[in-house]
Symmetry: C2
Subunit: 363 residues, 2 copies
């Protein structure tokens, strides 16, 4: 089978996957390990699939050094379903939770959370036009909060924490959909980490949830059984049939990540990538990024052209060169280059070369 030329894909999600992972999935698609059937045709309770599922979890545990008092769950419904699932599991009736507003995704979490209890917005980036993250000295955390929720990386705004909030005994809950596995983190600082797969993990349709065991078993009576974290944990994420194909593909990505040297190594590569792109933008006369230097996202780099009328020709020229999905989110406009783990330095270099060329012509 001939492999056609693959484009450089800067999509914010569902996002590029490592070519090695796709090639492996392709070769195994009709016949996994000589068993005569595809992974997606296996019972989730078969020895074969259980071995795939177990290895995926172990590889993720290795990659993030997940302590043994944390469960790893493979769920469905994306981060948006978690926005309800979190209060249904962790917010007692008439209880209160603190949320930090740093952009569109944390706002969505606040909006859905408010349907299930009292949400205190303990801090907001709004006074900074969402160009900077308020320091923790500006936060108004509640003493009696059931948890503190935040989004370490805002995919749309391109705003990312380079520090972990200090919440004492109050569990910290983080939507890491777009920055999980991009550089080392200390899982023990968190009560719960969750991430939709379709950015740094695998295809859409699966969510990874890393949750401290003492937070299980608190679900409200109105919580659907399928949304109860404890039910998922007690059943190894197989209370019903899990998304087996997505789980398998996520496992291939974890394996690939280990082969790259793990999260520390990929973090160093990501640092070079983001520095290459931001340095070029900052030095240019045509492109700009408005985010406070220390709050810039490593994964999602939004930028504007000095003249909006250049957006269309910029995108057309990019597409002609196989640089895809650079258009910014419809809510903010401009451009955005998402440079997740699977987007390598060659892609970034090709983008910068094109941006330079375009600036020379139109700048």
């Amino acid at each position: 089978m001939e492999v056609s030329k693959r484009a450089y894909n800067f999509c914010a999600g569902p996002a590029a996957l490592p070519e090695a992972v796709l090639l492996r999935a392709q070769s195994e698609l009709l016949d996994w390990h000589g068993k005569g059937l595809s992974v997606m045709e296996m019972s989730h309770r078969s020895d074969e699939f259980v071995s795939i599922a177990t290895k995926a979890e172990q590889d993720l545990r290795d990659l993030l050094s997940i302590p043994s008092n944390y469960k790893v769950l493979f769920l469905q419904g994306g981060a948006s379903q978690q926005f309800a699932q979190i209060p249904l599991n962790l917010l007692p009736e008439n209880g209160k939770a603190d949320y930090i507003d740093t952009g569109i995704w944390s706002q969505k979490a606040i909006e859905e959370g408010s349907r299930f209890g009292h949400i205190n917005v303990a801090a907001s980036a709004k006074p900074y036009d969402y160009f900077a993250i308020p320091g923790q000295n500006e936060w108004n955390l509640s003493k009696d909060a059931a948890y503190v929720h935040y989004a370490p990386n805002e995919t749309i705004g391109g705003l990312e924490f380079d520090w972990v909030p200090e919440t004492g005994d109050v569990p910290l809950v983080a939507d890491m959909s777009s920055d999980i596995l991009s550089r080392p983190i200390d899982v023990s600082r968190f009560g719960m980490i969750y991430a939709g797969a379709q950015k740094n993990i695998g295809p859409s349709g699966i969510v990874v949830n890393i949750i401290r065991e003492d937070l299980l078993g608190r679900a409200r009576s109105i919580c659907p059984t399928m949304l109860d974290y404890k039910v998922a944990a007690d059943n190894g994420s197989m209370y019903n049939t899990p998304p087996t194909l997505a789980w398998y593909l996520s496992g291939l990505v974890f394996e690939w990540l280990k082969e790259q040297g793990g999260v520390e190594a990929i973090g160093k590569l990501n640092e070079v990538k983001k520095r290459t792109l931001y340095d070029f933008i900052d030095a240019s006369g045509l492109y700009s990024n408005p985010i406070n230097l220390s709050d810039r996202s490593w994964m999602n780099v939004p930028f504007r052209l000095a003249d909006d009328r250049l957006d269309k020709p910029f995108l057309a020229g990019a597409e002609a060169r196989g640089l895809l999905n650079l258009k910014g989110h419809r809510s903010v406009g401009g451009m955005r280059a998402s440079i997740y783990n699977a987007v390598d330095i060659n892609a970034v270099n090709a983008l910068v070369a094109y941006m330079a060329e375009f600036e020379k012509e139109h700048g």
Copy 2:
């Protein structure tokens, strides 16, 4: 790329998929239609993916002649999540719903439904040891039920309705996870049909929901936004990122089904398959199926060997011949051959040949 010998896969789900679909997915896995990226790497809002999603829906509409006043939704969480989602959307607070108990799956729906309102079990196959479906003259339907729920095919017990209940103005809600698309149905008889994909549609991780428009917009205040059918309908099943890969693969199966001549043609093939297997079982001295003749499932054929001690050698011999996943569900024991659309007559013939051979040796 060499295609290895594919096994005959009788798994109850996740189940066999058409080889033609897998070959197509394999060839497109790194580069869909020369676009330079995999379907799972595309934005769900891209023209490319929207065309894939739209075609899948239209093909399903064509296959089942879905009337225009029905919405087709592509959801997540499997049928088990629907067991909560149905009352959260269709059962008013303090309302009542009728459920029919014909086996393990309808019982699970009853159990979860009971957490959200008053469930009246209007009929049960229990007096018949779940070997026969009580006729509608034995049912005690409520006059004021918000809906009537049943499972037309019980995957574990192998019990299937060959008739559609008459519920007048009360919407009929059907869990068709294991028999959708197996033969023609009249969608207009139903308020809602739902089906986990992993039997007759595609990989696990996606649920198809066909719902009459007047049933939208009734969600309870405690219903998570992601579980609200109206929200899904208003957003073309893209309120958040849908499981794009599973949606695409489901679409390939719909396309394949149309190529086979549609549901009427596949229904005729399915009738031959099930008759071949049941006729052989009934004529044999070693194998038996206890289900009332007119209530036998076309899709899931459970059978027992006269002596349980033969189960192990039977399964070992089957596996050695590439006849996989014939072990019955752990809750009932014995054997089960699931013969969904993708399991063709050659597989059934190979199974029957082996069963005959085994009977000659051990009968």
